[in-house]
Symmetry: C3
């Protein structure tokens, strides 16, 4: 899991995904010779910090968001959240401003509902802080901040090794309202007539979804995907023998929100491992679920 650890350590909050983009472009350049099929790599100013990998003759696309939650420094020692981070006093935050590297501590005043940092000096206005990475691995689990969604990115890179036909899209801003999937979806549909999507992201352990029981296929969250497409995914999973769990939620969302609202007829389904301690520095996921996530993506991209 050395690659996953590297990914979890990269500073790339929503809106400033550049470090992830550079890391991935370099990784892809270095490793693609070992991949079964050489993809077309799309990354230029018309795609902001996103990356598209197009393999062979695609029929489906995988979306994995690169950005993470975090905090922006406001005035004085105030913080404003990026996305929906857990806010427990004592969490270690890192970043950098004009005076150099920063390691400071999160403070949350519950009564006032105020977020701030504890540090020996004021940090530049607008500086982004993210959770400090403490990557922990056992035989059964990996634990770190930003498993959501560096694990989705990692799984997509594993998928890339053997993918023959399909698209992998690395997206931005997922944690904070979206902003890139709309144009990625437009480009993919218009250039390849692909309208089948899989969302490679991380979901929650709940009373209905348990760690170690397999990758999660989500039948719905705050939005409802087209039933016939979800059923097709479930049927493929069933036949494959890969362990999976069905999720049904009334809340939550993903890059699929932008697909659902797009002016293109995308079908989508969320397929990803479940984690506990969501949006904390201690996100934890079972290795069996990582394994079934990669396997199910391999099967789905072949059969869809």
């Amino acid at each position: 899991m050395k690659l996953l650890k590297q990914l979890c350590q990269i500073h790339a909050p929503s809106g400033n995904e550049k470090n992830m983009t550079d890391f991935l472009l370099n990784y892809i350049e270095t490793h693609k010779v070992q991949w079964k099929v050489q993809p077309v790599i799309v990354n230029n100013e018309d795609f902001q910090d996103c990356i598209l990998l197009v393999f062979g003759e695609p029929r489906a696309a995988v979306f994995a968001h690169m950005d993470s939650i975090g905090f922006t420094v406001r005035y004085g020692k105030q913080l404003v959240p990026i996305g929906g981070p857990a806010t427990k006093t004592g969490y270690t935050l890192t970043g950098a401003d004009s005076q150099g590297e920063i390691t400071c501590t999160l403070k949350y005043d519950e009564e006032e509902g105020e977020l701030s940092y504890d540090y020996h000096r004021e940090i530049d206005r607008g500086t982004e802080l993210v959770f400090a990475c403490d990557f922990r691995e056992t035989d059964e689990t990996v634990q770190s901040c930003y498993i959501d969604n560096r694990l989705g990115v990692w799984a997509a890179l594993r998928l890339a090794e053997t993918l023959e036909n399909g698209i992998i899209a690395f997206s931005c801003w997922e944690e904070h309202g979206g902003g890139s999937v709309a144009y990625l979806a437009k480009y993919i549909y218009e250039h390849y007539h692909v309208r089948q999507a899989l969302i490679a992201d991380i979901t929650w352990v709940t009373e209905g979804v348990q760690p170690g029981k397999g990758v999660v296929i989500s039948m719905r969250d705050s939005l409802i995907p087209r039933r016939s497409y979800v059923q097709k995914i479930i049927n493929i999973a069933k036949e494959s023998g890969v362990p999976y769990q069905l999720e049904v939620e009334g809340a939550g969302g993903s890059d699929a929100k932008e697909l659902q609202k797009a002016a293109y007829p995308w079908d989508w389904c969320f397929v990803g491992a479940p984690e506990d301690n969501v949006h904390t520095p201690d996100e934890i996921v079972n290795k069996k679920d990582i394994d079934s996530m990669v396997k199910l993506y391999q099967v789905l991209m072949e059969k869809l």
Copy 2:
């Protein structure tokens, strides 16, 4: 009202409109020979479960959503709402899962805010349940679940009988965040340069809108349509002699949300009968308002 009764009985919650699509395609195929003009029928995978009927040289489009509210089975006996259904303990729900047809009872625990079903066994995860249809007709009224929006669909089919120039769009997901009007609007604008819309849907009886006083022209809801277009609609209605009422609301929405946010300059106006007992199994509408709804649509599609 035999057709309306049939429509109200069809299982087609948001995201699984397929049954409505099939029923409508069959109905259209069977009845179109009696229509004044033969429409082009658009329905393929690039339109998911939507249907477009294009008559002559269109200048305006009518949007009628096919989907209904309902519930999704979560874990154990829990339910998650589809759209915003009324949630009174005792409502009868129907659906089907791997073990067969289901008729069960809704339970709502107000204190905990928890929805569940009462049934002799657990129902498959992800199963959709809808209100059981008890269709009631008197000389003055029709009453049933899903008058919203099977009556809009019914009115659009009545309009189709004599329509010479215009588009009828049967859309999906309206009750649950939308997801099809964006691409329908794109297709219609790009292929026919049409950007005038009428939303054929059902609204509420309020202190300002009474049953039997005529079809409702809504001047605004949570969104505000372009004033000059609404005024044009009102002027046509005034001249027509068809009874109508003006609505002004600060809440609520329709398929028009997607038109307003579209990357195309659509004008839109909500025109539909008012109902009482909104989003319950007992939605009730006055036949006079149904009559004026159909008549006003016939006039508007001629004059716009």
Copy 3:
């Protein structure tokens, strides 16, 4: 500030911007001969009530919304807000209905949360009322309703005088959910391949942003623009010597919301003067900040 006063007096609530459109088209026609470059003027039914001015070979676009907040007459003496106006009993409102010009008084019942008007007769359903304009000018400040965003429009017109390459877009519906920037952004990107935006709008005086300290460059509000673009703007401002302040907020929004969600890869940054008494009839802004707003726009449109 005679022009600004005229702009503040124009009745143009969201959805009914026509009066502003007519005023601006007339102003542009009259004054453009004195401008350095003659723009292409785009305004037809495919742009609803919006106006685009295209100068030379554009690389960036300025968005200034024309609409204002206000109230719609509901039933009886009830009012429904347009956008988010301040609601203090005693504010003077103006408008017109079928019986003529209206000047009435706002009433707000805090306990019931009900808005109404005080007037000798009932006003036509759907009539729009706006704040009566009391324009006040001192050596240091201007004060009026609708500084937000008639000052943004005014600054854009000042910019037009010397602009050589760039686009100015006058948009609609910004105060009430948006509805025009999506198609303006599409048109601009497709016709000119421009994807750099500046939002010419008014922001708030806060503990971090003070009147008289310069135009505000917003690093984020409820949405987060791409960091590299904001940094580019800040660098140009720094080099220019024009006074500016950096803003960091967790709430609020602008026309940029539609750019962020667009199916086009727009970069955007909010650049505008700060005001106090936001969304009241007494919005006040410092003339120094107006001055630096115009100057910074001139520099940015040259350097971007």
